[in-house]
Point group: C2
DNA sequence: GAAGCTCTTGACACCGGTTTCCACTCCCTT
DNA sequence: AAGGGAGTGGAAACCGGTGTCAAGAGCTTC
């Protein structure tokens, strides 16, 4: 019979237990093995869910792990695995609310997985951009990265990631990559919904302010809007489409430009809420009342949409939900099902900034 | 003469070099040691800036390191050091712009240091809050943590950190801890400046909307404001001080409450910009023109301050700069000097929402 | 010329996990 | 009862660094 304890070591063992129990030291895999009366390899098998462990043994080990609140050291594990348990979010989106919501969503999806989120803002126009990204990933041996727009739309980055064999998820408004690397956030559908809303209210002369052309979403939003109008038999006059930059200031300027046109549009659809806020201001300066004289709508449903007067009719983007799904997809834990794509679809939120045009 | 190369190993060596040169493998400390003809321990000494390395040797090793673009593996290093090179930002501040600016500031301060930022939003009211924080820190063996308000104001957290021996920096509006653990963001001074501004414009009947009482900044802002008024011989009527919650909605409600008072205040100072935006809306509903009929001012100088009409006179808080200083203080690299405290002092930004009261 | 010093350097164990390799059970055939 | 395959667990090497400690080189000192 082999005794599961080594009598010779009993003194040492009690010392060890004392140190553990007093909390002076965190439990290691060796402690768990000793306490469970198995080898550390077996404990390792349990941690890594190897099927080659007898049910009874597994249960016993899991009990000890739970009792001592043991959690394997991510660094040691990472060292052996040649990869860390860190997930990087590489972004250049300038909107704080988008960034924070995305972070929250990613953390939602990572909760309980043992992964941690490392944030990495970047500047795509920097000459060292790709080098920086590569350095970041290789040094930290990232498990994977999440790319929100507009980094997600940069093929150089995708190529780099494929090259160095790093897992990644691209979040974009159109499928740019294989399905397993994409979370698509249908901006086009959102813009269509807004188009239908405006047409439904009876607007026919509608101004549109595009976002930054460097974001795919700008084109998708415009495209979706135009789709809806065309389908309803309303023409989007190119003369009423002006180029904005997703900022309040650009919205103000574009709003003034649109309001100066004759005949004046009865509604203006800005590519995001900030620009819509700018349009509201332009309307005020022009002495127009919203929505009586002019309907103004935005896109995103960020906080600003509710903090202006009147509160903006806009398209809600489920950023956090998208983030959650992206993280889940990246770590693809067992028991992972793809997640309901319907939840990533933007939807219309009607507030007080839109109404039917005045009868002339 | 001792040959610095081991002839016996030359075949192996060329294999190794081939793997390295082809980029199939990143350089390790052993490679650098071999290439420089020293032991890995000496390379380690150079990496860790040990003074016990001959100048000539150090230069040679550094040259090899630079040539091969070697960077030590943070996980292996962390394992040996018993701590990681991760810095945690544990926060519960609900304002996205604050959070993002703080993150950017922290990253500014960490740039080039080899540390990475791990974000960790939390809920102080959760029953498992302290447990979660402890788990987060111990599992990741964090180098240190940054605590912005209001987590920074929680003594339970500070006690926990001291208990487990984790470095930390608390960012708060008052010194709550030893100087080395604090970055103080003088809200009081900012509020004083605003008080002086309003008094300087000739206001004497001023409404004040406080922030959430769970934030120290709320009290500091009120206190600073009251200081300035008192100093100028103006009394802050407690009847004109109402309790807000740092949200747009609360600003709207409090604004309406204040505007309903007789006599009506000639100016309203909201504890942050969002509430000020709410007050603007209340004023509009009441048919008042800002600033002709009513001066409205805020605090923070977040984006919303410029995206409302009229743009808000407010107090700018150098959040990013504060973050940078906090990170620098935490990692206290050599060549670190304390940073200019003056840069953390908020300052007045005068826009169009404030003016002298109408002569009655 | 040997002892004593300081300055450099390297051998070796170790951080806490995983993997490889192998031996040893079981259990089922033949 | 012997043979063989699958399941199970231990010993040792390894991941890529750091700490400990002692030894070698070069210079003084007596």
């Amino acid at each position: 019979m082999t005794s599961s304890k080594t009598p010779k070591k009993s003194a040492d063992e009690s010392d060890v237990n004392a140190a553990l129990e007093s909390g002076r030291r965190r439990a290691t895999i060796n402690d768990i093995a000793r306490l469970a009366g198995v080898s550390k390899k077996t404990v390792s098998r349990v941690i890594n869910q190897s099927p080659f462990v007898r049910e009874e043994t597994r249960v016993r080990i899991e009990a000890v792990i739970a009792e001592w609140g043991y959690a394997p050291d991510p660094q040691a594990r990472g060292l052996a695995f040649r990869r860390s348990f860190l997930i990087g979010m590489i972004y250049d989106n300038p909107n704080p609310q988008y960034v924070v919501n995305m972070q929250l969503g990613l953390l939602d999806g990572m909760r309980g997985s043992g992964f941690e989120l490392v944030v990495h803002p970047c500047d795509r126009s920097s000459p060292t951009f790709l080098q920086d990204v590569r350095m970041f990933i290789e040094r930290q041996k990232l498990f994977g990265v999440i790319l929100p727009p507009s980094v997600s739309e940069d093929e150089r980055v995708a190529d780099l990631l494929r090259d160095i064999g790093c897992e990644y998820i691209r979040i974009a408004s159109v499928p740019l990559d294989e399905e397993e690397h994409m979370i698509v956030g249908h901006d086009r559908l959102g813009a269509q919904a807004m188009g239908e809303h405006l047409v439904g209210l009876g607007h026919e002369r509608i101004g549109f302010i595009t976002g930054l052309p460097s974001f795919r979403s700008s084109h998708e939003r415009r495209g979706g809007f135009e789709d809806a109008l065309t389908k309803a038999g309303v023409k989007l006059d190119p003369d009423y489409v002006v180029q904005g930059a997703y900022t309040f200031e650009s919205g103000l300027a574009c709003g003034e430009a649109l309001l100066a046109k004759t005949p004046r549009p009865t509604a203006i659809f800005a590519g995001n809420d900030e620009m819509a806020a700018g349009v509201l201001q332009a309307a005020r300066r022009a002495g127009l009342t919203v929505p009586a004289d002019l309907t103004v709508v935005g896109f995103d449903d960020f906080q600003i949409a509710q903090a202006v007067w009147p509160p903006l009719t806009t398209i809600h983007i489920p950023t956090r939900e998208v983030g959650r799904m992206a993280a889940e997809k990246l770590i693809a834990r067992d028991g992972y099902e793809p997640g309901d794509p319907a939840k990533t679809i933007p939807y219309l939120v009607v507030r007080e900034s839109s109404s039917s045009p005045k009868k002339v």
